[in-house]
Every structure is written in structure tokens, then in C-alpha cells.
């Protein structure tokens, strides 16, 4: 069984999820998330090693369509809704710390 959630855990998942938290948010989220996980501790305590996991409620098969050209979303319409676009592409800030 996992131990109680700490503020370091919260800082770590916030970093993984690309969220900045204020000091006040770290405190508040630590308490709130710990309460939810304590509720989930009932689950962690169950012996379910012989029960298979279910990822989705109905069996699914991979769906493929015929590989034939057909219209897709209009590029200009899509890019018109982007925060920044240039030359028919999404524009983003430098990725590796260098100017493009």
C-alpha cells in the first residue's frame, strides 16, 4: 500500500503535467488529493491478483478504412483557429533553446 501523498509528490506530478502551482495551491492540492487517495486505499487493500483488469467496457477490434484519398479538414480553417501559424504550419517558440 502506497504511503500518504506528500507535497513533494504534488510538486512532481505538477511538473510532469506541465502545471505551475503557487505555494498556497501546493498546500491545498496536497490535502485534497491525499483525501481522495485515502478513499482509494480501500481498493489498494483488496486481493485481486487473480482478477484480470478491464480497460474498456466493450470488446473492441481495430478499425481500418480503405486506403483511398478523400477530403479531410480544411488546412486554412484549422490554422485560422491556432494561436500562431506561419507558412501553412503551426508556429511554436524555440524547442531547443535556439532561435529557429
Amino acid at each position: 500500500m502506497a504511503e500518504r501523498l506528500t507535497r513533494d509528490d504534488v510538486l512532481k506530478v505538477a511538473r510532469l503535467a506541465r502545471l505551475h502551482l503557487t505555494e498556497e495551491e501546493v498546500e491545498r492540492f496536497t490535502g485534497q488529493l491525499a483525501a481522495v487517495l485515502e478513499h482509494a486505499a480501500d481498493l489498494a487493500a483488496l486481493d485481486l491478483h487473480d482478477v484480470p483488469p478491464t480497460a474498456r467496457p466493450v470488446p473492441l477490434v481495430n478499425v481500418l478504412r480503405a486506403d483511398e484519398p478523400r477530403p479531410c479538414l480544411d488546412r486554412d480553417e484549422v490554422l485560422a483557429e491556432a494561436p500562431a501559424a506561419e507558412d501553412g504550419r503551426f508556429r511554436v517558440p524555440p524547442i531547443l533553446g535556439e532561435a529557429p
Binding site: 502506497a2 503535467a17 506541465r18 495551491e25 481522495v36 483488496l46 478491464t54 480553417e77 511554436v92
Partner: protein, 481 residues
């Protein structure tokens, strides 16, 4: 209030469509009546993020032109419909009630929207909801809460609270919601309307903004059981654009509405009912008695694993949400907050764009999926899901249908649970099991609690058992007249 309306009531979708198709009423006049009702009470209720005046008027006029030209606009001819704001509408802002998508206009319509329009419906607006459908009161909306039309000091439930309130206030006869853990059924119960979560895969999710993909379903909300059936028959059916859509033709539910429940075996689920408030338990008992007088055999049913459903849901749904919401990074749509590099831009955008409940669930899900905790949390939750599915399978060997509470209480005051997420999550305790098992379930208004506020009861059916479920719902509705 429209609750308790009959199919002959001119306010119902069935009556509007029949009148418009026959040329007895103009769709444009029907629209004007509904826009007037919205103008009168919407400032108090705040059911909508956006009301579509001009676009709705041209849709209504197109319906009238079709009728005048002798064409049939379809089974929802001229029916005003409200659509939850997490369902994509081409060229019309779709925000999920989040700052991170504020102003974004999708480049395509959701399949359910296409099907509504093809059936002659007039889309009058996008309804408020909890941010990204995460919540049980519509209070996590970035644009302010919706209020319950029955008592403006109380929540409408959530997350489809705007759709429920829009129907309850008479703004529209029918609306679309989405249900991941009860987000159609719980607000339907709190607002005194009918709310349907179809079988997983019965209704296309193409264009529904994803929250928890193994649980999300689109479904109708309506003032009457017949109207909910009418809309479900329009939106249900296979869609090649949704890989989880169930292939093959299926019979409509509307045709079965009058068949009654004579001889059906109904199981009353203790685990989903007995912990509800006494006035809610009393309404479920009254519903059981009504089904018995209509010829059903009602006995106690048990779903032992349902006790763990809430805990499993609040690991599975956040885990899937943490993955689904990774796409909001300021690159392709919506908000961007600049940063010195891409990673800084991602974090600045997400920090500014997401509200506290969404951040909580993303972090909870990230934690539940992280190395060292995956088996203890996410893995265990998935195994509990298997147990619950087995419990339902066993129950449906003995019973044709199950009956339970929808919400543990009537509508609570605004602000009562916003600082206590776990207390808010407990509002979903009776609705979550149907999502985990992928089965259909619906809430039917069944009188009022001690406080005079609406109480709904929940009918659950085996996968693709919608027709049977609607038969019981119709009997319950008739027994209230």
C-alpha cells in the same frame, strides 16, 4: 415547468415536430417562442455559454422552406435543441466551459450535431457545464455556475447542468449532454427532467471533446420520456468516424414505449440506494411499487463491487483525463501564454487555462499512472471494474432491469461542496457503476423530496437494452400523472 408534460403537450419535441411537419406551426415561430423564454429567465439561470440567435433563425427558416416545398425536414422538424458546450459545432465557439478553449471555433461538427440537423432540429445554443465535464454541480465552469430553475439558490447538478436547467426552465424541450460518471443522469434528477446515458458505443462520440474515453457517452435530456426516445433514435447508430461505435443496425426505442413492464423482473439495487437520503429512498420505493402495480416482479438485487465503484472511477477517469488533456498545450487551438521556449509555453498556457478541478484531476491521474503507483491505484481500479462487470452480469441473469437512486440527495445549495472535492465526488456514487460497466441507464423524474425539490430514480439495463429501459421509464412517467 415542463416536467410531467404529456406527449400531447404542445411544448414537447414530439408535438412541435408533428405540427411543423404538418404545416400547422412554423419552425421560425417555435424558435421565437423559445428565444423569448430564454430572454426572460436566462439572466437568472445561466444555462447557456452561447445562444445562437441568427444561425438558429436561418436553420428554422430552412425547415419552414422545406415544409412549404413539400419536403419532410425529419423527425425533429423545427425542434429547438440545446447542445452541451463540450460537443463540437463547426464555426461556433466550443469552450468546454474552460478558459483554455475560450473563443475556439471547431472546424467540424460532431456526428450527433450533424444527425440532429439532418433530422430538422434547430440548434439554439451551447450549454454551460463543469469545466471539461469534470464536476457534479456546474460550479467548476470558468464562466460561472448555472442555477437550478426550481430554486435559484441551488445547483442544477452536473456536469451537464446547463442542458438540464435549459430543459427544466422550458428554454428547449430537449438537449444533449454527456455522461462520464453520471453527468447526464445526476443533473436530470436534480432538475426534474429525463436524462439518458446510452450503452457505451451506441451513440457516436466523434466531436465530443474527450474526458475519460473508456467512460464518455453522449445522450439526450428531455422533459418527457417520449422526447428522450425521439432524440436517442436520431443520434444513435453506427458511425465509422468513432472506433468505439458499435456496428450494425438496431431497432429504435420509441416504438417500444407503450409495451409496459408486465412480467418483467426488476432488481432493486441496495448498494446504490440505501445510503441515499431517506426522502430519496422513499421515492425509489414508490417507483418500485409503481412497476409492481404495472405487472413487474420487483426483488432485491445486489452488486457487491459497487461499493468500490466510486474509488475506482476517481482513479480511472482522472488517469484517462490526464492523458486526454495533454493536448491542450497552446500549439493547435485555444489559449497560448508565451514562454521563453516550448516547454515554458506549455506550462504557462496550462497553468493559466485550466481551473482548479481540472488541475486536481490531471494531477490525480498523473499520480495514479506514475511509476511505483500504477499497480496500486490504476491497476487495482481496472480489476475492480472487472468485478463490477461480473456483478452486473450476475444481476442480469436474474433480472431484466435494475432500479436504484440516481442522486443521493436533491439539489444542494451553491457553494456547499466546492471546497470539499470528495464530498462532491460522492454525488456520483449511484451513477458511476453504469459507466464502468458500459451499460445504459437513465434517470426519470419521480416526485419531490422533503424540501419540495425534484427527485429522479434510475433504471439500468443490460448493454443495448435501451428499449426495455425506456418501457419501464414510460411506465414510471405514466404512474405520476
Amino acid at each position: 415547468m415542463t416536467a410531467g408534460a404529456t406527449s400531447r403537450d404542445p411544448a414537447t419535441a414530439s408535438a412541435i415536430a408533428a405540427d411543423v411537419r404538418a404545416g400547422r406551426r412554423r419552425a421560425a415561430d417555435v424558435l421565437d417562442e423559445h428565444l423569448a423564454a430564454i430572454a426572460a429567465r436566462e439572466p437568472d439561470v445561466h444555462a447557456f455559454n452561447l445562444v445562437l440567435g441568427d444561425q438558429a433563425r436561418s436553420e428554422a427558416e430552412a425547415v419552414d422552406e422545406a415544409v412549404a416545398a413539400g419536403r419532410d425536414p425529419g423527425p425533429l422538424a423545427g425542434v429547438p435543441v440545446a447542445v452541451k458546450d463540450n460537443i463540437c459545432t463547426r464555426g461556433v465557439a466550443t469552450t468546454c466551459s474552460s478558459r483554455i478553449l475560450e473563443g475556439w471555433r471547431p472546424p467540424y461538427d460532431a456526428t450527433v450535431v450533424t444527425r440532429l440537423r439532418r433530422a430538422g432540429a434547430v440548434i439554439v445554443g451551447k450549454t454551460n457545464c463543469d469545466e471539461f465535464a469534470m464536476g457534479s454541480s456546474t460550479e467548476s465552469s470558468a464562466f460561472g455556475p448555472t442555477r437550478n430553475p426550481h430554486d435559484l439558490t441551488r445547483v442544477p447538478g452536473g456536469s451537464s447542468g446547463g442542458s438540464a436547467a435549459a430543459v427544466a426552465a422550458g428554454f428547449v424541450p430537449v438537449a444533449l449532454g454527456s455522461d462520464t460518471g453520471g453527468s447526464i443522469r445526476q443533473p436530470a434528477s436534480l432538475c426534474g427532467v429525463v436524462g439518458v446515458k446510452p450503452t457505451y458505443g451506441a451513440v457516436s462520440r466523434y466531436g465530443l471533446v474527450a474526458y475519460a474515453s473508456s467512460l464518455d457517452q453522449v445522450g439526450p435530456m428531455a422533459a418527457t420520456v417520449a422526447d428522450a426516445a425521439l432524440v436517442l433514435d436520431v443520434i444513435a447508430g453506427h458511425d465509422p468516424a468513432d472506433s468505439t461505435s458499435i456496428p450494425g443496425p438496431r431497432p429504435g426505442v420509441a416504438a417500444a414505449l407503450g409495451e409496459g413492464v408486465e412480467g418483467l423482473r426488476v432488481g432493486l439495487v441496495g448498494e446504490l440506494t440505501s445510503d441515499a437520503a431517506p426522502d430519496v429512498v422513499a421515492r425509489v420505493a414508490a417507483a418500485a411499487a409503481a412497476l409492481e402495480s404495472a405487472g413487474a416482479k420487483v426483488e432485491d438485487a445486489s452488486l457487491p463491487a459497487a461499493t468500490y465503484g466510486l474509488a475506482a472511477y476517481y482513479l480511472i477517469a482522472p488517469a484517462e483525463a490526464s492523458s486526454n488533456l495533454a493536448r491542450y498545450d497552446g500549439v493547435r487551438y485555444g489559449l497560448r501564454v508565451d514562454g521563453s521556449d516550448t516547454d515554458a509555453m506549455f506550462a504557462a498556457t496550462r497553468t493559466a487555462g485550466f481551473g482548479p478541478e481540472v488541475k486536481r484531476r490531471i494531477m490525480l491521474g498523473t499520480y495514479a499512472l506514475s511509476a511505483g503507483y500504477y499497480d496500486a491505484y490504476y491497476g487495482q481500479a481496472q480489476r475492480v471494474r472487472t468485478l463490477l462487470i461480473r456483478d452486473f452480469e450476475a444481476a442480469f441473469e436474474r433480472f431484466d432491469l435494475l432500479l436504484a437512486a440516481t442522486s443521493p440527495t436533491t439539489a444542494f445549495p451553491l457553494g456547499a461542496k466546492v471546497d470539499d472535492p470528495l464530498a462532491m465526488y460522492l454525488m456520483d456514487v449511484a451513477t458511476i457503476p453504469a459507466n464502468l460497466a458500459g451499460i445504459p441507464a437513465m434517470s426519470v423524474p419521480y416526485g419531490a423530496g422533503d424540501d419540495g425539490l425534484p427527485v429522479g430514480v434510475q433504471v439500468l439495463a443490460p448493454a443495448l437494452g435501451e428499449s426495455l429501459m425506456f418501457r419501464a421509464a414510460a411506465v414510471l412517467e405514466r404512474s405520476r400523472r
